[in-house]
């Protein structure tokens, strides 16, 4: 008979050597860098055209997102329906996403269709027309979506807490109101397109099953464009954090839950504390076994889930705690969050708990290195944040070696309630 009370022996995940498959890098004739990862068994490819055309470049609110979205809604040769059809006929997906610094056009397709799809992307990047009618539909549908979202406490809370941490004028803290959408004009969008796409800065990332002739294809399609290699100088947006620390907002009188957000400003990935704080954050609220989850969900049952995280921003960032808790237990949940901060400040993390977190994190990274898209995501993060090529290995090393004393010191430095904005939206 086996003794079910005894756990089988394990290999500590921290004893694994992790390797991030290196990328290949080449430039097109116009110096646009192309990073590629060739891996995976499926005959699929992911191509991302990353432009420095995000929110932080805009003079008018909402214009970066509108320009990015409407790239696929008309060229001089094809209307929106035809552009969509040219991707969808081949079962391919062409998505647009707009972030703070960057705006991305991505293509996911079976590799064998790539030659038919690149010309469509080229058309979008050189010949988009931004028809008036398409902009009207975009405004109307965006306003309607916004209206629905504004009724969700979690959406409202997310906007407000960002505005406290960064200031409403900062691209990370600003948010859209219906008037911003009303004020968009075709002319302004075309100007933004001209400056930040036609004559913008671009990086291309390709991952998956890369065809042998990809470089020639990309060069033929995109090597003559007027876009240039990124300069690595980002606009210098200054934060203006809110003066008040504590907020309670009623969004819906019939609410049965409160959307709780706590946040404090935090330096970016280049700061020497960053990699160690990532470990501390895991202990605090970064995974299912974290302090916050164990206490506030698994012991008290106040919430379905509670998480802490460092926002994924390039210039500066913030350390956040987020949960939805019953209206009657929201204040109690906040007290418990502060108690958990205090425990991390007052008591050293035990060896067992620290080993668990190290193993969990390393095991997680090991799992994330599984597949070309995930590998590329890791590199993209390093490249777009302008980090050292060793960043990945340094982070892994930090997870393996950071000490309980260091974590306690960091808790004392950062996890101070008076440094946190505190918000509940009911």
């Amino acid at each position: 008979m086996i003794d079910r009370k005894i756990a089988p022996p394990i290999k500590d995940a921290i004893d694994y050597t992790l390797e991030l498959k290196p990328y290949e890098l080449y430039s097109l004739d116009n110096n646009i860098p192309v990073y590629t990862i060739h891996a995976g068994a499926q005959e699929v490819i992911q191509l991302e055209f990353v432009f420095f055309a995000g929110n932080c470049y805009e003079q008018q609110k909402g214009i970066a997102a509108a320009t990015n979205f409407l790239l696929k809604n008309g060229t001089t040769k094809h209307n929106a329906f035809e552009l969509n059809e040219s991707f969808e006929y081949y079962g391919a997906y062409c998505n647009r996403s707009c972030y703070n610094e960057t705006a991305v056009i991505s293509l996911h397709t079976l590799t064998r269709h790539i030659e038919k799809l690149l010309p469509v992307i080229q058309e979008m990047l050189t010949d988009a027309t931004f028809p008036e009618d398409e902009l009207d539909t975009y405004k109307q549908n965006s306003k309607q979506r916004l209206k629905v979202n504004l009724q969700k406490a979690e959406f409202v809370a997310g906007r407000l807490i960002d505005s406290y941490v960064y200031g409403e004028q900062h691209p990370y803290g600003t948010y859209t109101i219906p008037e911003n959408l009303d004020n968009l004009t075709v002319e302004n969008i075309r100007n933004f397109y001209r400056k930040y796409y036609l004559n913008g800065q671009c990086i291309i990332f390709a991952a998956g099953n890369i065809p042998a002739n990809l470089k020639q294809l990309l060069n033929a399609m995109f090597g003559k464009l007027a876009v240039s290699k990124p300069t690595n100088s980002l606009p210098n947006n200054k934060t203006s954090p809110a003066k008040e620390r504590i907020y309670r907002v009623e969004n819906d009188p019939a609410a049965v839950q409160g959307a709780i957000r706590l946040a404090t400003p935090f330096p970016n990935r280049h700061h020497p504390d960053f990699k160690k704080v990532v470990v501390l954050n895991n202990v605090f609220g970064g995974f299912f076994g974290s302090r916050l989850m164990s206490n506030i969900r698994e012991d008290k049952g106040y919430t379905y889930g509670i998480h802490s995280y460092i926002q994924n921003h390039i210039q500066q960032t913030g350390w956040f705690i987020s949960t939805e808790a019953g209206k009657d237990v929201s204040e109690a949940a906040i007290r418990e969050i502060y108690k958990e901060m205090q425990r991390l400040r007052d008591e050293k993390i035990t060896d067992d708990e620290l080993l668990l977190v190290r193993n969990y994190m390393i095991g997680g990274i090991l799992g994330e290195l599984n597949g070309p898209f995930q590998i590329m995501a890791k590199w993209k993060n390093i490249i777009l944040n302008n980090l050292d090529a060793n960043y990945f290995y340094d982070s892994v090393n930090e997870i393996k070696t950071v000490t309980a004393d260091e974590l306690q010191a960091l808790a004392n430095k950062y996890l101070q309630p008076e440094k946190f904005y505190e918000l509940v939206v009911y």
């Binding site: 499926q42 969509n84 979506r145 629905v148 049952g301 799992g367």
Partner: protein, 433 residues
């Protein structure tokens, strides 16, 4: 057109490598399937239990899902599930649907025995902790509030299911028909449910990743072999009678926009016509060049969003069209416009190019899905539950063989007005513009 079909099949076998696995059954009835993939350092252990919300008592709904939470509250010999797995570098989660409950974890392959130890102990017996029940009742109540009460349109599926199904247990949501059912759950219910449904013969174990089949056989026998077989649960659910007249419901709620929901009964997952129904939803919606989006959002500007989909349920499911109206549009006008698209489909059918498009989409979606070993493991379990894991390798050819004629024929049957339920979900806050 046999030549065309065989050409497609050939292309398929070239592009989508067969997903290979080996299957064996333990003496207690536990089915075990092993899928080796040496390209990853990880292993996936997926345990699927053949029990979902459809197996619940109508007065105790939401229980299958609440029970899923309790599966993490300690088992007979192991006080907590999560910690030892995390120490071994693993992570896990689970989900419950109206049809099934699925538990999955991923960990470094060298530590796979930890997953066997944990999964086998909770299949052997739970600890039935009172504290765990008390806490998880609250956690699930908060989950209920977060997703279904404290959110605009959160109760749509509660109301729509009740309209579409008169008899079959699909008439309630997985989360449950009411908060009260969850709050009232007792420890005896938990015990009864466990011994009725969580038996080896009611489970499917899939192990995938960097593993050796021979070793998995030994581990499966070692950890799961001695679990008593228990009594076999035989499902005997009331069948939904054929709908014979259109149904209609009108709801007023505190939402900013009017919304239209229409649903039609379709076929069980294993019915050959399932694939036809599935492709019909792709023709109607799912992209910027799909029919409903182009006609109703872009050209007629009646909706700000509209989708057509089905839930892939095991028993006979439904096709749903669900759209939010542009402010100011009369919902009856919007409803008529949806009907007009349906009439067009029933009258003219689809073009060869449209058919090719949705087949290409299916092929592409499958290739992306199969990239992750976790997805492959879950698919294998799902197909085994449907009757045969080998179905995973014939799925695409079934889609490839659907013809435009079949689509026309099935569209006419499915979109019969007597098979339709319509729900107007109207905004009652008239002060907004």
């Amino acid at each position: 057109m046999p030549t065309e079909a065989s050409a497609q099949l050939k292309a398929f076998s070239y592009l989508c490598p067969m997903i290979k696995f080996e299957k064996f059954t333990l003496n207690n009835g536990l089915r075990v399937l092993v899928h080796e993939d040496k390209s990853t350092p990880m292993a996936v252990v997926n345990v699927l239990y053949d029990v979902g919300a459809r197996d619940e008592h109508p007065e105790k709904t939401g229980f299958a899902h609440l029970f899923e939470h309790l599966m993490f509250g300690g088992s007979k010999n192991i006080p907590v599930y999560d910690e030892p797995l995390q120490v071994a570098g693993g992570e896990n989660n689970a989900y419950t649907t109206n049809d099934l409950t699925n538990y999955y974890c991923q960990l470094p392959a060298e530590n796979i025995e930890t997953a066997f130890w944990l999964e086998s102990d909770r299949m052997l017996s739970l600890a039935f902790s009172k504290k765990s029940l008390e806490v998880q009742r609250k956690v699930v109540s908060e989950e209920f509030k977060e997703h279904y009460i404290n959110k605009p349109y959160g109760d749509v599926w509660h109301k729509l299911r009740a309209l579409v199904y008169t008899t079959h247990p699909y008439k309630w949501m997985t989360i449950g028909a009411s908060l009260k059912h969850i709050e009232d759950a007792e420890l005896q219910d938990v015990k009864d449910f466990f011994f009725k449904h969580y038996t080896p013969s009611n489970a499917i174990l899939v192990v995938a990743g960097n593993v050796e089949t021979a070793n998995i056989k030994l581990l499966a026998e070692k950890w799961f072999g001695s679990i008593p077989a228990g009594e076999k649960y035989n499902r005997n659910l009331p069948e939904e009678p054929k709908q014979t007249a259109p149904r209609f419901a009108e709801v007023k709620a505190n939402v900013p926009l009017d919304a239209l929901y229409k649903a039609w009964h379709i076929y069980p997952r294993t019915d050959p016509r399932y694939y036809i129904a599935d492709l019909i939803t792709d023709i109607m919606s799912g992209g910027g060049s799909s029919r409903l989006f182009q006609s109703l959002v872009k050209e007629k500007k009646l909706f700000s969003s509209i989708d057509c989909y089905h839930l892939g349920s095991t028993d006979a499911g439904i096709i749903t069209i669900d759209g939010k109206l542009v402010k100011g549009v009369d919902i009856r006008e919007a409803d008529k416009a949806v009907e007009a698209e349906i009439i067009k489909l029933k009258r003219d059918g689809i073009s060869a190019a449209e058919l090719e498009k949705v087949k290409n989409k299916t092929e592409s979606a499958m290739a992306f899905e199969d990239m992750s070993v976790m997805n492959r493991a879950q698919s294998i379990a799902m197909y085994e539950l449907l009757g045969d894991a080998d179905l995973i390798n014939s799925e695409l050819s079934k889609y490839q063989s659907v013809t435009a004629e079949q689509i026309l024929e099935e569209a006419r049957i499915i979109f019969d007005e007597n098979n339709c339920s319509t729900m107007y979900y109207l905004s009652d806050n008239s002060q907004q513009n």
